[in-house]
């Protein structure tokens, strides 16, 4: 049963990393109704900025300052690109962010090159958090989980219990009324978008060191973040949290399952039929592990089109 517990921990950690990236996306959508296609690019920028800053002031400095730079870019994007076209509706916003994703991709290549850069966990953090069944579990993975949980708690608390959260929620539901009551709705939207970008930046700064920091990292992550947000329900923070864990765990466990269609068929007494299918039936399920998130999304969309916790369609 060692592998079961280790896989469980691995799945949770991976799920929490996914949550960190997706949280900002679902926040911006839930608050502003903007489906930000450039969100995964903010994740990538977070990793590159953290890498850049860390070469000067060390890993922790990078972790702190990198995401702030991303937040600044996010604020700029909202102020100068999204706000002017806000009146034209969501399709224009969507197209602008879609284009931005390409621009960020190319800019990263221009400044940092085609290859991955050397951004990794500092030696001072390369130790084992605990020993499980004779195997060391790296501290940094635990650290990733802690950061994710802390982010979730802070965000949830701000939105639910603070005055600022009330204003933000009010600005989303009745922007004209909130404006009339003397709140600066434009500023609220700008800050919300900035916070969304900052969260992606934090995920990039933490995740870039755990995984790789390369020009393709945005592309790789963007599908997963959309899957998480859709499964969780667009705009639902709690939904995104649970969907991330679900997808993290399912992907991890799918890798461990060495069963093929043929094995299942034999068990059901259909072995001969499936043997006729040829090699397809013999491919182990673990081969399709990376298709699991998309499969989950498909099932959720079929059964519950608004996602697990969504109230928007």
């Amino acid at each position: 049963m060692d592998w079961l517990i280790i896989s469980l921990i691995n799945g949770v950690v991976y799920g929490l990393l996914l949550f960190m990236v997706s949280a900002g996306l679902t926040l911006v959508f839930g608050m502003m109704g903007v489906l930000n296609f450039a969100h995964a690019s903010f994740y990538m920028l977070g990793a590159y900025f953290a890498f850049l800053v860390s070469t000067v002031v060390g890993f922790w400095g990078g972790l702190l300052i990198g995401p702030l730079l991303v937040a600044l870019i996010g604020v700029g994007v909202e102020r100068y690109l999204l706000r002017p076209i806000h009146h034209y509706g969501h399709a224009s916003e969507l197209l602008v962010t879609f284009g931005l994703a390409f621009v960020f991709d190319e800019l990263v290549k221009v400044f940092f090159g085609q290859f991955m850069v050397n951004y990794s966990v500092p030696a001072s953090m390369r130790f084992s958090a605990f020993t499980l069944f004779g195997a060391d579990y790296p501290f940094y993975r635990v650290f990733v989980a802690i950061v994710a949980v802390a982010l979730f708690t802070i965000l949830f608390a701000i939105l639910r219990f603070t005055r600022m959260g009330i204003v933000v929620r009010a600005a989303v539901q009745r922007p004209a009324m909130t404006d009339a009551l003397g709140h600066n709705v434009d500023a609220v939207f700008m800050i919300t978008f900035g916070i969304g970008a900052w969260m992606a930046g934090v995920a990039g700064a933490v995740g870039g060191a755990l995984l790789t920091t390369s020009p393709t990292m945005a592309l790789e992550m963007s599908i997963l973040t959309f899957v998480v947000v859709i499964v969780g329900g667009l705009g639902s923070l709690g939904g995104a949290f649970l969907a991330s864990l679900l997808i993290g765990l399912l992907t991890t466990f799918a890798v461990s399952i060495n069963i093929s269609l043929l094995d299942i068929g034999r068990w059901l007494g259909l072995g001969d039929v499936l043997t006729g299918l040829g090699s397809i039936a013999q491919v182990s399920l673990s081969t399709y592990a990376s298709a699991v998130p998309v499969l989950v999304m498909l099932i959720v969309l079929l059964c519950r089109p608004t996602g697990l916790f969504g109230d928007r369609t």
Binding site: Y119, P138, T212, T252
Partner: protein, 412 residues
């Protein structure tokens, strides 16, 4: 831009040299390579090798009394664009086409060249593949105008496993991880075959999606549980880095064999987990006798030949030797003559002879096995590691027999 200028200058200066005989047909070689997009880094490495070799050939007198012209086309990393660029190249008068970067693109071009040659007798073109490793292009899809001046997964893993066995680092239990597409599947078949032949047991194997897996720790948990001492993996790009990182994180000590650890960024991102891993490559700058080539290449491009550049450089020198054996006396260039000359061609590289095998047009070549080590002469990627040369597996030992499925129709 600087690199472009070098080629252009060399063409211009060579053109001046040959300007006395202007009437003879000039040989145009089309390089349909990936110069933009995610795979551009590898494509440009191959291009540098081609530019270098063409410059050398022109300095040595060109072909047919004219300098050889290398015309570059960007295939943007996809087979459909490559097919379009092939049409343009043929219209531009290319007699030799070269593609290196991807097996999918090479398969497309090989098929298109075969069809073009069947439909346009007398206007044939030669396809020189100097990088894409797919085995089936020299097996069931082989044809007379296709030449494979590179290795394949079977040659590389035969060499790796042989060296591991010789050095006593091949554990009795071997685990295989590969990407689920043509190359990864061939790599897994090769790893399985040679590890078994060397007396090892395959305790587990995984095929996974290409560049989709973010977290390799579940795979590492499986490897650990299997008790494997050796891991053979054909992964490249992010997939090898993430795998190595996960292995390092889990503190798993395992002997790794791979063919892509020298891609820029790999060693620095993977960190200490890569130390001791074996790499199968078609050149290593540490080879005795390679000093002249290393220095000359560095003079040209400002860095030592690494990664894929030597493959293309040697492949084009091989082509150059084939051309040298032809004397057209300034007459028209015929691709069939070039193909026939290529069949008998060979080129002496610093580490051994490259020669074409007539049966399937696979080039027999030495495979270099090196190890990620702090003792390497040239450090890589800004790390303290480099690739220490362990063994040069001779062309005869590295060769795998031609596939019985190759039924080549030769010109009568």
């Amino acid at each position: 831009m600087k690199k472009l200028t070098i080629t252009h200058v060399s063409i211009v200066s060579a053109a001046l040299m040959f300007s006395t005989i202007a009437s003879a047909e000039q040989l145009k070689i089309a390089a349909i390579e990936t110069m933009t997009g995610p795979a551009a880094s590898t494509g440009i490495a191959f291009l540098e090798g081609k530019r270098y070799a063409v410059k050398k050939l022109n300095e040595a007198g060109g072909f047919n009394g004219q300098p050889i012209q290398l015309v570059e086309y960007d295939n943007q990393g996809n087979a459909a664009t490559a097919a379009d660029k092939l049409k343009v190249a043929i219209r531009d008068g290319a007699k030799v086409v070269s593609v290196s970067n991807s097996s999918a693109i090479a398969a497309q071009i090989s098929e298109d060249v075969r069809k073009w040659n069947e439909r346009n007798p007398g206007k044939e073109v030669v396809f020189l593949n100097d990088g894409a490793e797919a085995f089936d292009l020299t097996a069931e899809r082989c044809h007379f105008y296709y030449f494979k001046a590179s290795s394949n997964a079977f040659m590389r893993y035969k060499a790796i496993v042989a060296t591991m066995k010789q050095k006593g680092t091949l554990g009795p239990k071997v685990y295989l991880i590969d990407q689920n597409y043509s190359y990864g599947q061939e790599a897994m078949a090769a790893q399985r075959e040679y590890a078994k032949a060397a007396g090892a047991t395959i305790v587990g194997s995984d095929l996974h999606d290409v560049m989709k897996v973010q977290d390799f720790s579940p795979y590492v948990t499986k490897i650990k549980a299997s008790g494997a001492e050796t891991l053979l993996t054909g992964n490249w790009g992010n997939d090898i880095v993430l795998l190595l990182k996960a292995i390092g994180d889990a503190g798993l000590k395992i002997q790794i064999g791979n063919q892509s650890l020298d891609t820029p960024g790999t060693l620095s991102s993977a960190g200490p987990a890569a130390e001791g891993a074996y790499l199968a490559k078609l050149y290593n700058t540490e080879v005795p006798g390679g000093e002249a080539f290393n220095a000359d290449f560095e003079k040209e491009f400002g860095h030592l030949p690494a990664s894929e550049q030597p493959t293309s450089a040697f492949a084009f020198q091989l082509l150059g030797n084939a051309l040298r054996s032809l004397d057209l006396k300034g007459g028209p260039i015929n691709a069939t003559d070039i193909a026939l000359a290529l069949e008998n061609a060979s080129y002496d590289t610093p580490g051994g002879k490259w020669s074409v095998r007539k049966e399937d047009h696979q080039v027999l070549l030495p495979v270099y096995i090196s190890q990620v080590s702090t003792e390497a002469k040239n450090k890589h990627d800004g790390t303290q590691f480099g690739f220490k040369l362990l063994n040069v597996v001779s062309p005869e030992e590295a060769a795998v027999p031609p596939s019985p499925k190759c039924d080549m129709k030769r010109p009568s």
